[in-house]
């Protein structure tokens, strides 16, 4: 028999994993996954982001893919959309940068300026 506490735990744990089907109000992390992105190593980046989200048990964060944004030389590109904030575009991301982005930007709301497209073009 499951107690009420156990049911609540199941509810929370499962909701984290299936919430992408209902709630689209949370943060969205979009990874460029066209041929250029994949060739530049977008898949390990994507996996690193997912691992990190799972590790920290982050709910209402959605990881999505998108096609070619047109700046193939800057791939892998990761865009972060947070409700009520401007989109932030990170370029030349690798798994370790991705982990930092999740830890600082997604969890603490602090944009990792050094990795953004603005820093790159300077």
């Amino acid at each position: 028999m499951k107690t009420i506490q156990e049911l609540e735990e199941i509810r929370k744990k499962t909701l984290d994993t299936i919430n992408v089907r209902k709630d689209r109000s949370g943060t969205r992390i979009v990874v460029g996954m066209a041929t250029c992105g994949i060739a530049a190593g977008a898949r390990p980046v994507l996996l690193a982001i997912m691992d990190e989200i799972k590790k920290h048990d982050l709910s209402d964060v959605v990881v999505a893919q998108t096609g070619c944004i047109g700046m193939c030389r800057l791939e892998p590109i990761v865009e972060v959309y947070r409700p009520g904030e401007e989109k932030v575009t990170y370029v030349k991301v690798n798994p370790s940068k991705a982990i930092r982005i999740v830890n600082e930007h997604i969890m603490k709301g602090k944009v990792v300026e050094g990795y953004t497209i603005g820093a790159e073009s300077k």
Partner: protein, 597 residues
């Protein structure tokens, strides 16, 4: 559960399953594995999304891309393009969901825009065979609240306050039904669920059972607590194999989690549910016949009183509610009765699911707030009649309901207003008819159904409906007599007033409503021996149009009666006295020179 970035939801309701959605699901799993995505993407089999006309339907989250009419061979492309590269496969998207090359949110699509999914909240969203997913979207939360914070009287009061009325047809206030049963004193009481959906063209309950079986179990357990019952039965027709299978799985999972059984959630409350399968008799949807059938007797109604709330199943106090009624219960407790009562009209609260069928573009399942007009449902959600045909009538409520013509389309849908038009909401079947449908033929169809399904216990239904059918058949065969309409009306009133159960009492409705609104069609059949819609075969004549006939003789060669004659290269003629109206000549003519009038 594992965390996945993308969820591929594949409809495994009856509609999509019959167009091969299981193969599609298997192909997805295979392709995903082939591309090494099995840690990122999960394939879930789910319930009905509602847009059955465009099945098989696949929705890919997080984008909520709505793929329609998917074939197993399309899967490779979706996986390669969408799941690997993140490029939505536009050619397979439901056309309505794309605007200016951008994907619209599902809620913005015309078909979904006016809908409010309460009873169908989880259909197409969760995997119905996984109790955890039901729990995640507030499943069993209402039961928890009821068992730990509320008294049975408060539970009944909440249902009363919500204004919920029975969704099976009669529209009896649910809270009142529970109240009556709770006041009956007995050591054993029963909670029943009527899942014997039998109206032709109706599949609301099937979709709820297939897509969200746990919501029914939760609601029945709440009902058990409210009236003091320890045992529930779901009476489901055996023709719903997927629903039966998923209910079985759900009951097993609920028992395992202690959500059914001797000590539910550790509160000491005891309740269990068993499945009973019906053999597909329409009359077993009637409450007293249903109970007789569960008891193992022949499914026949008995007079009331005594009402089931006092003497029901095995002569114990019993409540019986329809599937959709139950599906609303957990939400009423989670969101509050005031929330539920804020939707709908003064006397009809909440939402209602309708199964749209017949001559309509978007065949499928829709859930709308009560008070939405028929026009909104048929045109804005249903997309109107296909092929530019003109709308003629909508049949609501199945064999117990009636036909509503164009001039009443702006009527808001609620129990009272449809009844005032001579129809009923019924369980929610909505069959749309266009100019090609003959209303006399429709009335004959429903009467034929009733004659088949009448149990034979009471004379008015057994004999009366048979006589009505004979008259209708006569009219459609061109042998109608002047006084037939009056005879039909007379029989109808007698059957309505004297039949034993709801089946007989409402059986004349399709005939009465078509006479009321389409009397001219009856008269055309009877007086002019003509079927204006061109449906009734005996009233049609095949003719060759001399100006189009090239005299090839193909029709004459194919005519089984050899009643077409003529000389090559001159127009042929049909001898109507020998013609058996088989239509072969018409289908064989290469010049479309044969008409049927």
């Amino acid at each position: 559960m594992e965390m996945y970035r993308s969820h591929v939801m594949i409809c495994r309701g009856t509609g999509c399953t019959s167009s091969n959605s299981e193969q599609i699901a298997k192909n997805f799993e295979e392709e995903i594995k082939k591309h090494g995505l099995e840690k990122e993407v999960v394939v879930e089999r789910t319930g009905c999304f509602g847009l059955c006309a465009l099945g098989p339907v696949v929705i890919v989250y997080p984008e909520a891309s709505f793929y329609s009419l998917v074939k197993p061979e399309d899967v490779e492309e979706i996986v390669k393009e969408h799941l690997v590269k993140g490029r939505v496969v536009k050619r397979l998207l439901y056309a309505e969901s794309v605007e200016e090359n951008k994907l619209k949110a599902l809620e913005e699509v015309d078909f979904f825009k006016k809908q409010v999914r309460v009873a169908l909240r989880n259909c197409g969203v969760i995997n119905p065979e996984n109790i955890d997913e039901y729990i995640a979207f507030d499943g069993y939360k209402a039961l928890e609240k009821v068992l730990t914070e509320m008294t049975p009287a408060e539970v009944i009061d909440t249902v009363k306050k919500s204004g919920l009325r029975g969704r099976g047809g009669a529209g009896f206030p649910t809270g009142m039904k529970w109240d009556f049963a709770s006041r009956s004193v007995n050591d054993q009481k029963y909670v029943l669920c009527n899942a014997d959906e039998g109206d032709p063209g109706a599949f609301m309950d099937r979709s709820v059972l297939e897509g969200d079986p746990h919501s029914i179990l939760e609601a029945m357990t709440i009902a058990g607590y409210a009236i003091g019952a320890g045992q529930g039965y779901i009476y489901c027709r055996a023709e719903y194999p997927i629903a039966v299978k998923r209910l079985g799985i759900a009951i097993g999972q609920a028992r395992q989690y202690g959500l059914l059984g001797d000590n539910i959630m550790g509160t000491g409350f005891k309740f269990d549910i068993e499945l009973r399968l019906g053999a597909g008799a329409f009359v077993c949807g009637e409450e007293t016949a249903l109970m007789a059938s569960i008891e193992g007797q022949r499914g026949m109604p008995r007079p009331r009183p005594p009402f089931p709330a006092n003497k029901g199943l095995f002569a114990k106090p019993t409540i019986l509610n329809n599937v959709e009624t139950y599906a609303n219960i957990p939400v009423i407790f989670n969101k509050g009765p005031e929330w539920f009562a804020s939707m709908g009209t003064e006397k009809s609260k909440g939402t209602k699911v309708f199964a749209l069928g017949g001559k309509i573009n978007n065949t499928g399942l829709v859930e709308i707030p009560m008070g939405t007009t028929l026009r909104e449902v048929i045109y804005e959600i249903g997309g109107g009649c296909p092929n530019g045909k003109k709308f003629k009538a909508v049949q609501t409520g199945g064999p117990s309901g009636g036909c509503i013509p164009e001039e009443h389309l702006d009527t808001p849908i609620d129990y009272e207003s449809l009844a005032s038009l001579g129809s009923i909401i019924g369980s929610g079947g909505m069959i749309v008819m266009d100019e090609d449908n003959c209303m006399v033929d429709i009335a004959r169809f429903f009467m034929d159904f009733i004659v088949d399904e009448s149990c034979g216990k009471c004379t008015p239904c057994r004999e009366g409906t048979k006589r009505m059918l004979e008259i209708l058949e006569r009219i459609t065969e061109g042998k109608g007599e002047e006084e037939d309409i009056e005879k039909l009306e007379n029989l109808a009133m007698n059957i309505k007033n004297s039949a034993l159960c709801g089946l007989g009492q409402t059986a004349p409705n399709p005939v009465l409503s078509t006479i009321k609104y389409f009397r001219n069609e009856y008269e055309a059949h009877i007086k002019e021996k003509r079927c204006p819609a061109g449906v009734c075969n005996e009233l049609l004549n095949y003719m060759i149009m001399a100006d189009k006939c090239k005299g090839c003789g193909i029709c004459a060669k194919n005519c089984p009666q050899q009643c077409i004659s003529g000389q090559p290269k001159t127009p042929y003629t049909i001898d109507s006295s020998k013609c058996i109206k088989c239509g072969v000549c018409m289908s064989k003519c290469p010049f479309k020179a044969i008409t049927r009038k």
